[in-house]
Symmetry: C2
Subunit: 229 residues, 2 copies
Amino acid sequence: MSELLVKQDAPMDAYRQLFDGILSQRLAPGTKLNEVELTLLFGVSRTLIRQALQRLQLEQVVEIHKNRGAFVAAPSPDLAQQILLARHTIELAVVNLACERCTAGDVEKLQHMINLEQSAIDQGDMATALRRSGEFHLQLAIVARNQPFVHALRGLISQTSLIITMYSHGGGNACARDEHSLLLAAVSAGDQHRAQQQMAHHLGHIAAGCDFTQSPQVANLKGAFAHLS
Amino acid sequence: MSELLVKQDAPMDAYRQLFDGILSQRLAPGTKLNEVELTLLFGVSRTLIRQALQRLQLEQVVEIHKNRGAFVAAPSPDLAQQILLARHTIELAVVNLACERCTAGDVEKLQHMINLEQSAIDQGDMATALRRSGEFHLQLAIVARNQPFVHALRGLISQTSLIITMYSHGGGNACARDEHSLLLAAVSAGDQHRAQQQMAHHLGHIAAGCDFTQSPQVANLKGAFAHLS
DNA sequence: GTACATAATATTGTATACAATATAATTGAA
DNA sequence: TTCAATTATATTGTATACAATATTATGTAC
């Protein structure tokens, strides 16, 4: 009976593996995503690989250059700031709605996600923590019951992960748990003003932890040097 | 020499034809989009048709049901209101940025688009007018110089067209030209407060022109009845 | 005639084959 | 050696072939 639950959705799997790889920082910004390599890695044909890549492109996590191939996105400093601004706008609206519509069940789920994020931090797994942090924010949009916001935020949160990878200098986001907890407290209390303040403060921290003045460190040379060993 | 300019980007063409068809209301919400039919219409293989359909799906203009096929999206009343709310939030932010960044060239381009929209109205071609109206709003986001907003609005504007097709009862959007002109005046003057007020008023008109209480009129039965004649 | 079961067809899902383009390697000349 | 031109290779773009699923049609029992 359990075998029935292992329904393998091949196209979704390829997409999700790539997505997780990027958000877990195993695939650095700028990395070339060779189609046949991915074929061998995931055991599906190029058709599905290309489907996954196109989807990731439309989420702005991957860039596809005609006849050149797909690359993990590497947002410029200018674009990065556009992304953070857009996120700011949408998340303020989201948290506002969430205050109105958050149920007891929602609070429980959000609290659970905070705990998961914290346990990743405790284990020193910052990549997982970053991914979980993003999932918390996305869950807020789900609680807000606005599908377009969920859709837009999915891309923006993913891109934020790339931005942090590229521009953040260290421990600026260690305080995330407290901030998420404070945010959840305000939301579950239905206090829109305080929730928006918390969200603005939280997103401000992310931006403050980044340095956009120096050119980004695109670490895609790693693979190019690997064959010399 | 002119032949060189006719560089046919096949995948984009298929996408654009479908997109225009939907936004010009030639393809009603709920219409089944048969892949081989589209193959014959556009003269490209199913590969490119499926690419275009996937892209339209990610813009939420098309729904794809596994093993069932693709359909022109038909947002429910609930989803429709989520879409209009999201659009409201983003367009207010956009118009705010546009006030700060609008150049003389931008004003000229926006004015030109208003004129195009008006000429379509004058000719009684409301489908084209609706499409041009959407292009004006999208151009505002371009003027705002925020790529994520452009990206999100592209989908939201397209979906709004579907919503108007499904739920709007007639001449509610005839006043569009005046409103766009007033909006442009405020933006080019850099008057953020007035521009936001105009935008809110304008989007309010769209929502006011719709009736979400009665169930939507999905006109995809037309084809089903055609063979009886 | 209706309802169900079964077979035929149509449609979508995935993999592969071929074409077009870009990248890398090789050769030759200055 | 260095640069350019050319060939060879690798990679992406598109079309087609086959597999899996859904839809429709047919037939039979009641």
